[in-house]
């Protein structure tokens, strides 16, 4: 696989940041967005004020609202569509583009009801295209500013992972490769729920000790869930698990953490979401985690506390106290 032309499906912050990465690595890049007016605005102003403020998009990066145009001639499609919209966009892509262009998926979620991972949704709708998953501690705002960042690209298709690694790596964007796309994808999805919990602790005025405990116990929780879903445990100890979990829990950029913080301060979920441009993935993912933890019979005390706080009106302070009161045990 030789990657020279890249189509980015999705003009959110992370899609745009990865378009910049691909451009800086020497690729010809076209970004597809769902809303023609906003696509035209970005093409004209070279800005993405809604999702990646303060960054200039270089001229050679193309924009289109036509999926067929974004896919035509591309050696790689980077899928950067939020989970709730992924199935419909993938169906439109399948209709617009008959080819077998490899896909690099950035989506971090688990579809509600079906409980499928993003790459499984892509597989269902697009058939047997080669798929890789790119994930890790990588806030779009920092990647776009050239802050040193490391990610992992995981695929069962080793030549594809290799090609992506070598085509997109640069002096401030370091790509490791891995062979556990299931774990990579689940790490990225499940950590968003723990990040909401981290925000709740921030909103309650708790400190770094509490947050670190939450991260350590949260990692145990997502490792157990992930292993039950077919991931390798070791994957969660790396960039896709621990690394991404840490950045999402500590960062001021994190939207999942932000939702939790506002709720920890006393707001309700609808009140918080009213002020946001999009619903953070963790708010959806926690529903899937609830269903998965029941189906797989895996104890997920932190995620379940987040579910009760977000959707059943449970008290944040009482839920944290409940976690602290669990029977004293072995680590």
């Amino acid at each position: 696989v030789k990657i020279a032309r890249v189509g980015v499906i999705g003009d959110g912050g992370w899609g745009t940041a990865m378009a910049l990465v691909a451009h800086q690595a020497g690729c010809r890049v076209t970004i597809w967005g769902a809303f023609p007016d906003y696509v035209a605005e970005q093409r004209r102003t070279r800005r993405n004020p809604r999702f990646l403020a303060g960054v200039t998009i270089p001229r050679p990066i193309g924009y289109t609202a036509d999926l067929a145009e974004a896919a035509a001639g591309a050696d790689l499609l980077i899928s950067a569509v939020p989970t709730p919209f992924l199935r419909s966009v993938a169906q439109r892509l399948a209709a617009a583009h008959a080819g077998r262009t490899p896909i690099c998926s950035l989506t971090k979620g688990i579809e509600n009801v079906t409980l499928l991972r993003p790459s499984q949704i892509l597989r269902q709708t697009l058939g047997r295209v080669p798929i890789a998953v790119l994930t890790g501690p990588s806030h779009a705002e920092e990647v776009a500013r050239g802050i040193p960042t490391t990610v992992v690209v995981a695929s069962r298709n080793r030549p594809l992972a290799d090609a992506i690694q070598h085509a997109l790596s640069g002096p401030t964007f370091r790509i490791y490769w891995g062979t556990d796309p299931v774990g990579a994808e689940l790490g990225g999805a499940l950590k968003n729920v723990i990040a909401v919990a981290a925000g709740i602790c921030d909103g309650l005025g708790y400190g770094d000790n509490t947050k670190s405990a939450l991260i350590a116990r949260g990692l145990v929780e997502l490792t157990m869930l992930g292993a039950a879903m077919g991931a390798r445990r070791a994957t969660f100890m790396g960039l896709a698990g621990l690394g991404d979990l840490v950045t999402t829990c500590i960062s001021r950029h994190g939207r999942n953490r932000f939702v939790g913080e506002a709720i920890g301060r006393g707001k309700t979920l609808p009140q918080v979401l009213k002020s946001m441009k999009m619903v953070p993935e963790g708010v959806h993912t926690v529903k899937s985690v609830r269903d998965l933890s029941r189906r797989l019979k895996i104890d997920a005390p932190i995620s379940m506390a987040v579910y009760r706080i977000l959707y059943e009106g449970a008290s944040p302070r009482a839920e944290v106290a409940g976690l602290m009161r669990r029977p004293l045990g072995r680590e």
Copy 2:
């Protein structure tokens, strides 16, 4: 083992916070400090302004500058002496106190030259007393304020770990138990070096992506070093490794992180240390890590970069760039 009376050896921030924990859990507590004048000041003012500002020490907590007095009648000694002073204090304790009182060690370091862990130093000087190690993400400032905190107490002596867990746990201080004191102790020691690196990244103006990568790769580094020294790998995935690493790398309280930040901003080590009340453990520990990584032939790229920056005048920016430029590989 029944723990009703506790002697705390060391009047630093962490020793004082653990004295408060033991007091709140219903123990009779005496704190020993090395400097009689400062001990008298603390006894009189019920404050420890040098090491734990803003906290009131309740009246029932006793103070002494006499090791024999602190140890007399105690069911448990909590050792909270920094590594460079531990051997001499332990020798004085051995001379002052002939008993076999169990010890709970809080010290986080590796002795320079001998490359011994704190519990090994205690064993060498005190003989066959029962020893446990207490560690985890637990900034003294937050523990003293009642912020929810979790730690692990690890010992080969299960009844001792059990007794400490049940004697000192409370609604905001949750103690897990473990059976790998070597790993618990090494996690606490080695993470301080990674925390200096995290501070260096902060000083250079890097972001959360960089720090999370450093934490994830740093955990790999300390797991490999720890395993080569006889620790269990799993221990580093818990509170004593990951949990403590995260809090030390993100916290504004962290002195190791602070040293790194000042150096990342362009100061030299002697300039930074001049402004501090004590030398943070990581500044010593990195020397031991250098010797250990050579002796055990374990690659420790982050710790070695910290060593070169602290002691050989290497450029922080060049060292980070060097870490980013290592050959692209598997995670």
